[in-house]
C-alpha cells in the first residue's frame, strides 16, 4: 500500500517536473530569441512526430497490413482539408477505422 502510494508520489513529482522545466528555467531570465522562433514552429513539428509515432508500431507485414489505420488516417486528413470540421473529420475517420478493423 505505502509502496504504491510512494511510487505514485514519485511519478507525480517527476512528471510535473518534466512539464515544468521550461517554465522554471525561464522564470527569471529573458528567453533568448531562439525560443520565440521555436514557439512558433515547434507545434507543426510535434504534430508530425505524434502522427508518425501513432503509425510506427503497426505490423505492416501481417494480416490487414496497416490498411485500416492508413485508409482511415488518409480519410481523416482529406475530410479535414476539404470540410475543415474537426468533429466530422475525427468521428468520420474513427468510425471508418472501427468498421475496417472488423471487416478486414
Amino acid at each position: 500500500m505505502s509502496y504504491f502510494l510512494l511510487a505514485v508520489l514519485v511519478m507525480t513529482a517527476v512528471t510535473y517536473f518534466t512539464r515544468a522545466v521550461p517554465f522554471l528555467f525561464f522564470a527569471k531570465r529573458q528567453p533568448p530569441s531562439l525560443l520565440g522562433f521555436l514557439q512558433k514552429y515547434m507545434p507543426p513539428v510535434v504534430m508530425a512526430i505524434l502522427v508518425f509515432a501513432s503509425y510506427k508500431d503497426i505490423d505492416y507485414g501481417a494480416a490487414p497490413f496497416g490498411i485500416p489505420a492508413l485508409v482511415a488516417g488518409a480519410t481523416t486528413a482529406v475530410l479535414h482539408f476539404w470540410k475543415r470540421n474537426v468533429l466530422l473529420s475525427i468521428v468520420g475517420g474513427t468510425a471508418l477505422y472501427m468498421a475496417l478493423i472488423r471487416i478486414l
Binding site: A7, M11, T18, F37, V45, F52, T76, A77
Partner: protein, 248 residues
C-alpha cells in the same frame, strides 16, 4: 472593461461550450484509453483505487501503462523515477511553445503546466479561444475537461471494465485522428517545408537510434534540426509575410 463583474460571471458560459467542442476528440480517446488502462491495472493484480489516483495525480497515459508492469514486479522507486523521466522528458519541449501564452495565466498556471499531455498541448497550440473570452480560462477549461475524461475512463475501467460488453475496439483511433487534424491545421497555418523536414529527419534518427524512447529522441533531434534551419525558415517566412489572413 466597464462591466468586468458581469463579464467574468458570464464568461464561463462562453468558455465551457467552446472548450467542450474543442475537447470532444479527446473525450472519445481518453475514456476508451482510460478504460483499457483500468482493465490492465486490475488484470495485473493491482488494487483498483490506484487507477483513479494515478489519473488524478500523474495524468500521463504512457507513463501510467509503464507503471503497471513496474509496480507488479515491485520495481525500485529510483528505477520508477528514472524511467518516468525518460518517458515524459519529451514534455519539456512542449512548455517552450507555451511560455508566452502561459505568462499571464496567474493562478491557473500551475494547473495548466500539470495538465500538459500530448493531446492537451496539441489543442492549446492549435485551437483558438473564441474572440470574446479570456484565453487562460479557455485553456483551463480544455485542460480540466481533458483530465476529467481521463479520470472517468480510468475509474470506470478499474471498477467495471471487466463487466463491460460494449465492443469499443478501435475507438482509441480518435487520438490518432486528432493528431492528424491538428497536423492539417498546422500545415494550413505554417506554409514552410522546414518544420516537416525537421520532423521527418528526427523520426528517421529516432527509429534508428532508439525505438524504445522514440518520442523523446525524435523531439530532441527535431528541436535541434529546427534551430539549425532557423535562418532559412525565417528568411522564407519574411519574404511573402502576408500570412493569408486566415489566422487558423
Amino acid at each position: 472593461m466597464q462591466d468586468t463583474h458581469f463579464r467574468s460571471g458570464r464568461e464561463w458560459h462562453l468558455v465551457l461550450p467552446a472548450a467542450f467542442r474543442a475537447s470532444i476528440p479527446v473525450l472519445l480517446g481518453y475514456t476508451t484509453l482510460g478504460l483499457a488502462f483500468g482493465l490492465t491495472l486490475v488484470a495485473a493484480g493491482l488494487p483498483w483505487w490506484l487507477s483513479p489516483v494515478m489519473a488524478v495525480f500523474i495524468f500521463a497515459g504512457a507513463a501510467q501503462f509503464m507503471a503497471v508492469g513496474l509496480l507488479q514486479s515491485g520495481a525500485g522507486l529510483f528505477e520508477i523515477a528514472l524511467l518516468t523521466l525518460l518517458l515524459n522528458g519529451r514534455h519539456a519541449v512542449y512548455g517552450l511553445s507555451l511560455l508566452g501564452p502561459f505568462r499571464s495565466a496567474g493562478k491557473w498556471k500551475p494547473y495548466l503546466i500539470f495538465g500538459l499531455t500530448d493531446e492537451t498541448y496539441g489543442l492549446l497550440t492549435t485551437v483558438k479561444a473564441p474572440p470574446q473570452v479570456d484565453e487562460t480560462k479557455f485553456f483551463a477549461a480544455v485542460t480540466a475537461l481533458n483530465q476529467s475524461y481521463w479520470v472517468i475512463g480510468c475509474t470506470a475501467g478499474s471498477l467495471v471494465g471487466s463487466a463491460l460488453t460494449l465492443d469499443t475496439a478501435g475507438l482509441d483511433f480518435a487520438l490518432t485522428a486528432l493528431f492528424i487534424v491538428l497536423l492539417v491545421e498546422q500545415v494550413r497555418a505554417v506554409k514552410q517545408w522546414g518544420p516537416y523536414l525537421a520532423a521527418a529527419s528526427a523520426c528517421a534518427v529516432a527509429l534508428f537510434v532508439s525505438p524504445r524512447n522514440f518520442l523523446l529522441v525524435a523531439l530532441a533531434v527535431a528541436t535541434g534540426v529546427l534551430a539549425l534551419l532557423r535562418g532559412k525558415i525565417e528568411q522564407s517566412a519574411g519574404a511573402p509575410r502576408h500570412d493569408s489572413g486566415g489566422g487558423a
